[in-house]
Amino acid sequence: MNAAAPTPSKAPSKAYLHFSRTTARALSVGALGSLCLSFALKFLLADEPGPQHAVLQLTVGVLGLAGMVASVLLFLSTYSFRANAPDAQIDEREVLERNRAYFRAYQTLVFVLLLSYIVTEILEKAFGWIPTRGIVANFLTLLIFAALTLPAAILAWWDAGEEG
């Protein structure tokens, strides 16, 4: 039996960016790594302005911007399509993978939130340190971008790379 050459009905539309598995993985590391590093370096900016303050400020800005751009690119990729597509647009294996990716992302975010809460409590009890409104805002921004990026990033790392 020979079938006429059909086209897959489950392919994402051309509006999504078709990155290779390697590129998507690099973007995910770049996005989350840059944003985390930018968040961590902002703590140093709170100190008294010194001669290297401007360089540090520039580094934080560049890292933050690079992280956001990488997050947006990953969010516009086919991995993001697979991570966010409704059941009707992906097949049953992809539905299973999508659900697993979201569950893993949820676990990761809950872990980060819990760890942050514990660390903050310890720092407050031990040193009387309370995060400022700016630190909380930066942390929430980091979490929002992580929540947007993680499911697609997890799918990129799980991708076996087979084209069929």
Partner: protein, 85 residues
Amino acid sequence: MISNRIQIFRTDRGLSRKELAALVDVNPQTIGFLERGGYTPSVELALQLARVFGVSVEAVFSLEPFPPLAAQIGAPPTTPIGDTP
């Protein structure tokens, strides 16, 4: 773990993974996962695959590993190279 003969039936029918995927409405990658045993299909997908191949679902899927093809067709074991008298 469910064993399957999807690859055997697919090649026998002259279908590529893309063609088979389109016939059962899944991503071609999913056919690759199925053939390698990396994914166990739903009952619906298993029945669709059996229908495409024109055989019963038991002919394509089994709870036990399928015996080697040579054993199934009753072929004698091949003589190792160098053992010929």
